[in-house]
Amino acid sequence: MVQHSGFITAAFLVAGSALAGMIAAVLIDYRVQLRALRRLLLDHSDPRGRV
């Protein structure tokens, strides 16, 4: 049995969750901004019709 394994596991879990959360937040924000721009450009007859 590894000594202090609970602390090691908790540290890796916290760091992993925080990094995963940060990646997810940036990806979700990208989708939100892309949708907002697409809606604005397509719904209002912009001749370019693209982001």
Partner: protein, 257 residues
């Protein structure tokens, strides 16, 4: 072909370069993390700390990036104040939440390392307190961005605050030399060379590289998101001015009036 800094700092060019760069950044980040984590668990245990030393491989790089992100924000703040460049504003705004997250990781993993080694989760010594102050500065800057609606005015206010807060970075770095702290002194970046055995140093350096690459990748993506947010805001303003009632309802009150 003539190369110029301003050509690459143009938001349109940035979007094109980012699209080409991101797959490479993601690939190298994944590879560096895989190699770094393998090294972190393949490295021998410490003769005093035992297996607990493995927390070092996630704690120390987080501290490096927390300070690196702030230093990057200071450079962007200068770009924002001196050249009034919109991309510098976006770079500064995008780096703050990333820097705050790395500081949070550093504080929590340090606390979880401190309990078995020092017998306490927290102590108000100079290194730990200055790192907590850095986290609070990040939160303050994020809040300031949200407080002011107009991006260029917000950027000016945040830039000044960022430059003022830079005083904390040398305090974090040299706190272990200037004061008598429970936290150990510097053992990697020293004038006399690293004090860590090479079998434990290389995974630490690789993890540092992995964290740096992750910060760069997420920062490029976050700057891209910020450029898109500003484009959408400008487009809403233009369409509302052209008499689009549906768009006018989507605008913040102060812009619509």
């Amino acid at each position: 072909m003539k190369l110029s800094f301003t050509a690459y700092s143009n938001p349109g060019n940035f979007m094109r370069i980012a699209a080409k760069l991101l797959p490479w950044l993601w690939g190298s980040t994944t590879f560096a993390f895989a190699l770094g984590l393998f090294g972190a668990f393949a490295a021998p245990p410490d003769y005093q700390q035992g297996e607990t030393v493995r927390i070092m491989y996630i704690h120390v790089p987080a501290a490096w990036i927390a300070m690196l992100a702030y230093t990057f924000m200071v450079a962007s703040a200068l770009g924002s104040l001196v050249w009034r460049h919109p991309l510098a504003d976006a770079a500064q705004k995008a780096a703050a939440p990333l820097g705050a997250t790395f500081t949070f990781i550093c504080l929590v993993t340090g606390s979880l390392w401190g309990k078995p080694m020092w017998g306490t989760y927290w102590v108000w010594d100079a290194r730990l307190t200055s790192m907590l102050v850095l986290f609070l500065i990040y939160l303050g800057l994020i809040a300031l961005w949200q407080t002011i609606e107009e991006p260029s005015r917000a950027a000016r206010a945040v830039s000044i605050m960022t430059l003022v807060g830079f005083i904390n970075i040398p305090i974090v770095k040299f706190s272990v030399d200037w004061w008598n702290t429970l936290h150990q002194p510097a053992s990697v970046f020293r004038m006399e060379g690293s004090a860590i055995a090479s079998s434990m140093l290389w995974p630490l350096i690789v993890m540092g590289l992995a964290y740096t690459l992750l910060f760069m990748t997420l920062h490029v993506m976050a700057v891209r998101n910020e450029i898109m947010r500003r484009r959408a805001r400008r487009l809403r303003g233009t369409l509302a001015a052209a008499g689009e009632p549906a768009i006018a309802r989507m605008l913040p009150a102060e812009m619509a009036s």
